[in-house]
Amino acid sequence: MATDLAPPEVKAVPAPVRRTRMSPRTALLRYRWLYLMVLPGLAYFLVFKYLPMRGLTIAFQDFVPFLGYEGSQWVGLKHFEELFTGPDFGRLLGNTLILAALTIVFAFPAPIVVALLLNELRLGVLKRAVQSLIYIPHFLSWTIVASLTYLLFSVDYGVIAGLVHGVVGGTRVDYVAQAEWFRPVIVLQTLWKSTGWGTIIYLAALAGVNADLYEAARIDGAGRWRQFWHVTLPAIRPTIVVMAILTSGHLLDNSFEQIWLMTNSLNRSVADVFDTYVYYVGITQGGYSYATAVGLFKGVAGVLLIFGCNWLAKRLGQRGLF
């Protein structure tokens, strides 16, 4: 939950000369415009992220909306017990983690690779055109992406499904229905939709690499590959690390709409993740408390992952997020 908080800021290097300490009031006065600019952001987090946390208390109650927070009965950890000992937990955790792992392996490096490739393009026009084209899917809703997928991969009329069948032969595969194809389809959708958008931040980082470094490397006799390895990659490494830490907080957040739209009776056993489960239990079955308990568990796990990755990054000698 807290993952959206910190932008990938670069920490100021401590100045060698110590300034005299300002009183808080002087500081407030001197930087008043900066503080003023921070206010809307702060208000956003307060109203939309922190105030709703009050509702988390219902995870420990048998919440009845009519009776309200005060009137509902407290039940302690009952809902958590139910979750951890229930028949669904193992499957949900497994599905969520597998999709998360696939995201790390495929979706995380993809924008880096694409950004590096784009960076090597000489022709500015081509580079910008490609960039714009691969952004576009980001602006389509998952509903549209899902419809396109059904259209292209449906067993009866899917164009791509038909093409593959024409080339490979054999029995027709129902890519959108069969359980074994669920994860590949989800990964492909994610790659198609988010890779282009993800390149933005890396392209920005690449643009900031000092051109002198390349020149120096060339003078030292470095070829393209060497330049890439010794200049480009180290230059964007901090960005990669920060992005990795930020991503870790979202690992358990599978994209709800995407998965919900692709789920059917044949693939539910691999498609059920915490997010769809929370929706089903909470919204359609009215199990507010139980759903909140599941959500809270997910949130806590996400925070732990962020701290873990941050710690790991620091241990590996990288600059962490905090």
């Binding site: 009519f66 027709r172 709800f256 059917n264 009776s265 044949l266 089903y280």
Partner: protein, 516 residues
Amino acid sequence: MNLTSRRLLAGLLAISTATAATACSSGDEPGATNELTMMVPLFGTAPDPAGEMQKAVEKLAGKKLRITWVPNAEYGDKTNVTLASDKLPDLMVVQDQKGPSFVKAAEAGAFWDLTGKLDKYPNLKPRNEQTRLNSSVNGRTFGVYRVRPLLRSAVLLRKDWLDKLGLRPPKTTDDLYEIAKAFTEKDPDGNGKKDTYGLIIPKWPTPVFNSSNPYNAIDVWFGAPNGFGMRGGRLVPEFDTPEFFAANRYIKKMIDEGLVNRDFATLDTGKWNDPFVQGKGGIIIDVNVRATQLYGLLKEKDPDRYTDMLAMTGNLARPDGQKFSLPFTGYNGVLAISKQTIRTDAQLDEVLKVLDRLASKEGAVLLTNGIEGRNFRVEDGYAVHINEDDPAVKTMNNDVDYAFIQLGTTASVGVGGDAYAWKPASKAEQDNLRLRAELEKLDLQTAVHDPTLPYISPALTAKGATLNPIVTDARVKYLAGEITEEQLKAEIKRWYDSGGSQAVTEFQDLIAKGGN
């Protein structure tokens, strides 16, 4: 994430409704005014509170109405939020009145228990005992039900295909199989290619097992219970009967032979009509009102021939000739009365009198058709639109069709009741309307009602997320050939072991206690 934003929205809505409710109730003694507040679903744009329709409804009701119209897509969320706030309107339409949030609120005393109280109002007295029973909650009546057809399952077929192959609409499941086979193999569209199939089955959006989908209809036709049923003094679920397996072998045979769309596990229900209209598939098992949609779509495609393109029949008999029909609940939500603002019996009586006037013949016509001589006239017992070019009348028509009809309890969408049916454009469509009424009457005699409908099993509510998909998914897997019949039986056992047994016991006790 989606849920977070939903929760946020809910919070904001709660704040805004709370302030709105405070704003209108300030200074008013609750119930002492000549005004009723309501919350009602909306399918278009909200009517003008000073508009002609609202004035006419207020005149009949004898009260000023302050109606909060809520778009239907958000109605469920908004209901939950309203129930969570402490400002309930005097009257609200509750669509999911078996849902835990309403039931818990009602049992906590938020709404009037109307059990036995409606009989002295001539138009509110339940007209159908089965529907009254279906709409009750554990033996209690928490609202006035909004009527819908009690039976409306039907088989819709491409009439032009039947005619070309010299076939007649089916009477039995065997007929249906033969027709599906002929539609697949005998080139019913005459284009020389084998590019058609028989039955169109979509992916059902809810994992709840007995949700009146084509599978359930076929189960019931073969003699399985509708949801749950008594067998030898014991309550059993639909899927724990030999008839269920017979029905599924039948469906599987059709699927294996290619008589059903291959994407039956994924086809969106929103696209259910497409293969039918495009001439790919020829049979739909659903509700009879789908005929209206299909006529409309076929007319767009082929205005000259569309009246000869649709045939309809009701429930089918099983191979041995015995017939069982799949009924519906007979209602769509209830009008519930808040105890918060309507405090005394006298006040309740006043509100019920208002509802009684709206449920009268005059009220039914007003809410379903509009104002006679203004936006419609009566012709051969049908209502026909008039003055349609007048913008004011256009507004009236919208107000009726997309808003006020939702207040109807004795007549409504698809139910004539005391109101007039709109006169269809062609004779075929008029015949279809008549056929619906005939089939409803005929099939009701063989209707298999679900004895658990009036009751709520705590176990099923609590464990629904685990229980509901088990057999629903297993059936589809069985039909797709991914698991065997033995494995399907194992999944049914898993349903029992995961809490299903408890749900059955609870239902059985409630039924025994209810004495129905």
